[in-house]
């Protein structure tokens, strides 16, 4: 654009001020990108969850558990395709601090329900054949250096086995890849039959029933049908979808949405003040120059546009830089939200906010420039 030099003239006039303002904007949008990225990341994880799956647990509290006998009755509910279950074993490897959240399950049904988890069919067969078998995620196996065929001892502080020992031995028969699912999928599985038979007490109990349904639109109906089967019994059930479950878990940490929005709001408010002040100052100092431009024949509208374009250039360029840095740092937050890139929606939101910032901080001085009277301005009034 041939007018670019003029816009540049406005910004480069007080280089220090322009650069410092830009740095403030960069920092603000860096923070915005990180915080909203985490916030949206959580939301996305929840939304992406599978709606073909339901979870049934004891109504009073999941820890109370449900009888294994329920499995058949749940299977008979119309719309139910597969039924598996999870029973928490929760041991540790060698030392208490190496906690391994292990679950006892029906592996064949389990991986039929979680189709996105990649596992070789021969591993599932091996699990069926080996009572003391264990299936472990690739990542966990790598972390402890386990190979297929290893004998893995898990210690437990609760579940003493029939021999009176607190150490259980499992044979690693296969591994699976959870990367397409993300965080939250248990990484160590043992056979339910073996576990239930070998434990000294608390038999016949399951913590979660996992239900694969044929038609996601039927989710609510099937859930209700399952729960009504066991209403008014000793062990009432509660069935929810996967995203319902995830949302609950998230909410337990706190109202993250509110916190992020509050902080971002505070940051953007202070930033708005700074930017508006910078633009105002810049125009005020340049009144004679703007008057000269008008003298040379630049219309009121052109001068207004000039100032606005300056504001937009400043804000959007700096905002994009800030968002870029946020996107770079984002993978470092893997521990919080799993393997996610910074959501595109955050970038779009950021650009939108930057435009609003430019408009609000740039419009008053732009209007001032538009309206300025040449004669008065040149005379210094």
């Amino acid at each position: 654009m041939k007018y670019f030099r003029l816009v540049w003239a406005g910004l480069a006039r007080k280089k220090a001020r322009t650069i410092l303002t830009m740095l403030s904007i960069i920092v603000a949008f860096l923070l915005f990108g990180l915080l909203q990225g985490v916030n949206q990341g959580f939301n996305q994880v929840v939304e992406n969850l599978n709606v073909n799956r339901l979870y049934t647990s004891a109504k009073t509290n999941m820890v109370d558990g449900l009888p294994i006998s329920y499995a058949q009755r749940i299977k008979s509910v119309p719309g139910v395709q597969h039924v598996s279950h999870w029973t928490y074993f929760g041991g540790y490897f060698r030392e208490a601090k190496n906690a391994i959240p292990a679950f006892a399950t029906d592996a064949e049904a389990l991986f039929a329900i979680y189709k996105e988890i990649k596992i070789k069919p021969e591993y599932i067969e091996a699990m069926k054949r080996t009572r003391t078998g264990a299936l472990v995620s690739d990542q966990l196996a790598k972390q402890y250096g386990w190979k297929i065929g290893d004998r893995i001892p898990l210690g437990t502080s609760i579940w003493t086995n029939k021999e009176g020992s607190n150490t259980w031995y499992f044979d690693l028969v296969g591994t699976f890849d959870v990367s397409s699912y993300g965080i939250g999928f248990p990484s160590f599985y043992i056979n339910y039959d073996y576990y239930d038979e070998a434990k000294a007490f608390g038999k016949g109990v399951v913590h979660y029933y996992l239900i694969g349904i044929a038609d996601p639109l039927q989710a609510t109906r099937v859930a209700k049908a399952i729960d009504s089967q066991f209403e008014n019994s000793m062990n009432e059930t509660r069935t929810q979808t996967e995203s319902g479950l995830a949302q609950n878990n998230l909410k337990q940490v706190g109202d993250i949405n509110f916190i992020v929005n509050a902080i971002v709001g505070a940051v953007l408010f202070t930033l708005l003040f700074l930017t508006a002040n910078t633009m105002m100052q810049s125009v005020r100092e340049r009144i004679p120059e703007l008057a000269v431009l008008k003298t040379l024949g630049f219309s009121d509208g052109k001068v207004l546009t000039l100032v606005l374009v300056e504001a937009f250039l400043l804000c959007i360029f700096a905002a994009l830089l800030g968002l870029f840095f946020a996107a770079l740092i984002f993978p470092g937050l893997k521990a919080l939200i799993g393997d996610l890139p910074m959501p595109l929606s955050v970038v779009l939101m950021g650009v939108g906010i930057a435009m609003l910032l430019a408009l609000i901080s740039g419009l008053p001085p732009a209007l001032r420039a538009q309206r300025l009277n040449i004669v008065d301005a040149l005379a210094g009034r």
Partner: protein
């Protein structure tokens, strides 16, 4: 002396001309207010959390768990084990010669937050007959204590405040029993987020025997070592023994640490932004008064006086901003009840605490930002070549 007088008079001149620079001065104030408000508010969370947790421990009480348990919830002690523990040395005895301790079991219950119905796991604690003597800090503030062996339960004040259906007279359903809330208690610590009843009633409800933990009153804080030795050297027991305070600090450590990290990272990034904007403001303050500064220097005011006066102005504005930020944090968040998770079976309800220590942290940050933001412009003011400056338009 002369230096101080110089600094004083220059600063006074600066301040008197500030109304003309109100816009730019406000930028520092608002920017720093934002940083301090956010920092203090988020730290108030970890402060409140840690305070509530560490209150729950006394140095002369110890808790015994099954060997290898990360927390009470994953521990399991048999009746025999409890009996052996009760015989160990170091436990204080009451007037009847019985050891002051409580063998306790826990169950998890789903509670629903009042504000948004979010589901949360909270603890029902079954306590032994000597619990009152063990925990004198427990006071019934409404209703009455539960009768042992009845399906009666008392609710911690914090739990009562945060969750639905925990008022005196309400009924609570767990696996195998229907409980009636008969009282509300305070302890000033993490136990206020729990429900309490008689351990035998709790165990009978779902026909589970055994305990999760044994908490004992020691003869004195120093008796801990002997007590621990007696238990760990006993071949019939495999237990972990903790000082109560250390155990509770451990429980909240991870969450508390995470919150503190978030507070300082977010606050730090905001502070960097505030430094830039402070630099901006002070640079423009200096350049707006180039003639004035040069004149003063020509008149004989020393470079140090110029530097100090700019710094004083910057720090003063920063202090105002910091005070406003701290006040906002206190106004909006002090005393607010929040709750968060502390683990698989734990949910802690606590009050946000904007303590004097936190406010001091905020003020210190504000002053630091002001100092850094004012330093370079101050040096520039001192280095201005006087002759050219006097000619400047």
């Amino acid at each position: 002396m002369k230096m101080i007088r110089q600094i004083g008079s220059v600063t006074a001149m600066n301040l008197r001309s500030m109304p003309q620079r109100l816009g730019t001065s406000l930028v520092i104030v608002i920017g720093i207010a934002g940083v301090v408000a956010v920092l203090v508010s988020v730290l108030a969370m970890s402060t409140g959390m840690l305070r509530t947790m560490s209150n729950a421990g006394r140095d002369d009480r110890a808790i015994v768990l099954r060997n290898g348990s990360a927390a009470e919830a994953s521990s399991a002690l048999t009746l025999d084990a409890a009996r052996l523990i009760a015989d160990a040395t170091g436990i204080k005895r009451d007037a009847d010669g019985k050891p002051i301790l409580s063998s306790e079991s826990m169950r998890v219950l789903t509670a629903y937050k009042k504000e948004d119905g979010a589901e949360v796991n909270i603890t029902i604690r079954g306590v032994g007959p000597k619990a009152a003597a063990l925990r004198p800090e427990l006071k019934i503030v409404e209703g009455r204590m539960f009768e042992p062996a009845l399906a009666e339960i008392i609710v911690g004040k914090a739990a009562n405040k945060q969750f639905r259906g925990f008022n005196v007279g309400d009924k609570i359903k767990t696996r195998g029993a229907n409980w009636t809330v008969v009282g509300i208690y305070t302890t000033g610590d993490a136990h206020e987020s729990e429900l309490m009843t008689d351990v035998e009633a709790l165990n009978a409800a779902d026909r589970r025997g055994g305990y999760q933990s044994v908490t004992v009153q020691l003869e004195s804080a120093r008796a801990f070592a002997a007590f621990k030795d007696a238990l760990t050297s006993n071949p019939a027991l495999s237990v972990d023994v903790w000082r109560e305070r250390e155990y509770y600090e451990q429980q909240s450590k991870m969450m508390g640490r995470m919150i503190t990290i978030v507070a300082y990272v977010v606050g730090g990034i905001m502070a960097i932004g505030a430094v830039f904007s402070a630099l901006n403001t002070m640079y423009s303050a200096v350049s707006a008064r180039v003639r004035e500064i040069a004149t003063l220097r020509a008149l004989g005011f020393g470079a140090t006086a110029m530097v100090m006066s700019v710094l004083v102005e910057a720090v003063l504005l920063a202090l105002i901003g910091g005070a406003i930020g701290a006040a906002l944090a206190w106004l909006f968040f002090n005393g607010n009840t929040v709750s968060t998770t502390t683990g698989v079976a734990g949910h802690l309800v606590f009050d946000l605490v904007v303590s004097p220590a936190l406010i001091i942290v905020g003020i210190v940050w504000a002053c630091s930002i002001g100092l850094v933001g004012g330093l370079f412009p101050a040096i520039r003011a001192a280095r201005l070549p006087v002759a050219t400056a006097l000619r400047a338009v």
